[in-house]
């Protein structure tokens, strides 16, 4: 095995040299997590807003459940999706198991509760401020949902990015339903796990750099959006 310094040097070379294998893995990672994020947002944002604005028996229980689902263990989600998509499972006929589609489904399940729970909180806080004014203007709670989602856009973008961070960094779900097949379902996290156990530290480290870079970029984007939002609000963001 090479020394650690050599591994770092080789990893750096892979990243800077835009190694095709590495690029393919990074690309699939971003595609799978990005798609699950879009799907999770399509469901989670309106559902979270609806949960914030409606009152029905058992609402508190639903909120507790959704909050609890934020902490779903990825490997358990992977197992459930595996059971449903496996040949003997109810959706086995789709043939999605061990394809990126199964990975998208698993990550979608994983992050929808996150987007939903966080957006419920954001929208509920806004609603406390807006409820009387919107009622006075004649907006029903249903009509208020798009208004509140739009007015909460800066905070909601941060919650959506939290979902992305969770998806792109998890390994348990995608390895169970994707199988970590080279050039097919291998993403950054599963590749890092595999290459580390094989002793191919340069590739593992290179991917680790990229994953860290993605995390930094996501946080930078969140900070930037908060700053833009604060300027729109006329408040100092340096508080």
């Amino acid at each position: 095995m090479q020394s650690l310094a050599d591994a770092f040097r080789a990893a750096f070379g892979l990243v800077v040299g835009l190694d095709p294998d590495l690029l393919a893995i990074v690309g699939l990672s971003l595609w799978v997590s990005g798609t699950s994020l879009v799907l999770a947002s399509l469901i989670g944002l309106p559902a979270g807003a609806a949960l914030a604005l409606t009152r029905f028996p058992g609402r508190r229980l639903v909120i507790v459940l959704v909050n609890a689902l934020m902490g779903l263990p990825p490997v358990v989600v992977g197992l459930l999706v595996y059971l449903v998509l496996s040949r003997a499972g109810p959706l086995g006929g789709l043939g999605w198991l061990f394809t990126p589609k199964a990975m998208i489904v698993a990550q979608w399940l994983l992050i929808t509760p996150i987007v939903m729970a966080l957006s419920r909180q954001v929208v509920e806080d806004l609603w406390a401020e807006y409820a009387e004014q919107l009622a006075s203007l004649g907006a029903s709670p249903l009509r208020a949902i798009p208004t509140l989602l739009w007015d909460g856009r800066y905070s909601l973008f941060t919650t959506v990015l939290a979902g992305f961070g969770r998806a792109v960094g998890e390994v348990g779900a995608v390895i169970v339903v994707g199988g970590n097949i080279a050039h097919a379902t291998r993403v950054m996290t599963t590749a890092i796990a595999l290459e580390t156990s094989k002793g191919d530290l340069p590739l593992a480290l290179g991917l680790g750099f990229v994953l860290l870079g993605v995390a930094v970029a996501v946080n930078a984007a969140a900070a930037l959006v908060r700053e833009i939002g604060a300027r729109q609000e006329g408040q100092s963001w340096r508080s």
Partner: protein, 248 residues
Amino acid sequence: MAELGDTSSILPLRLEGVGFRAGDQQLLRDVSTDFEAGAPTVVLGPNGAGKSLLLRIAHGLLDPTRGTVRTVGGASPRDPAARRRQAMVFERPVLLRRSAAANVSYALALAGVGRAERPARVAKALARTGLKTLAERSARVLSAGEKQRLALARAWALEPELLFLDEPTAALDPAATAAIESLIGAIASAGTKIVMTTHDLGQARRVAGEILFVHRGVLVERGPASRFFQRPQSDAARAFIQGELVWD
């Protein structure tokens, strides 16, 4: 039953035996009055008298725990057709995170004003309130006085028959207060019935045609402003006018 697009009058709006109880606190007790077309009605009284609560009930934001609020046609103020004939401006207006013009346009859209008709009505409302040059400014960065003017512009654009104002100048400096009071005068002259709360005697003298004096949740006195200030009928009103009754 009111039909869609019904423009029949909601005035006079009649409150009958209105009471409001929260827990074991009786916040309003047996308030009966009419809001009639004409000069502004000012609901006057010390802090905590129940003035804002009375406005919210009359506007249909809250249901009274006793009594009724009915338009002249017998509709509840929550009825959609009745809702479109009235508007309310709050002490701290809630403005949406969009431009000043878009805030007005949003209210018009909710009121069912067609897309084609909105820009002209937005422009008119902003011009009448002196906000023309701020039309594209984000509503949230306006000054407190500008925000309240925008809230008035938004309400006025709806061309309501009845406009409730809840302590519209309590958070403003004297210059901004003067601007808001002159706007209130303009809105009233244009034919909208104003019902506003204030705890500010000077403002009540400047604005009111009629006074409702509320004390400890009870409507103590109702009458023309001139008579109220010269010859108040109740001890509580007399004390309030002399500045002795600041707290409930």
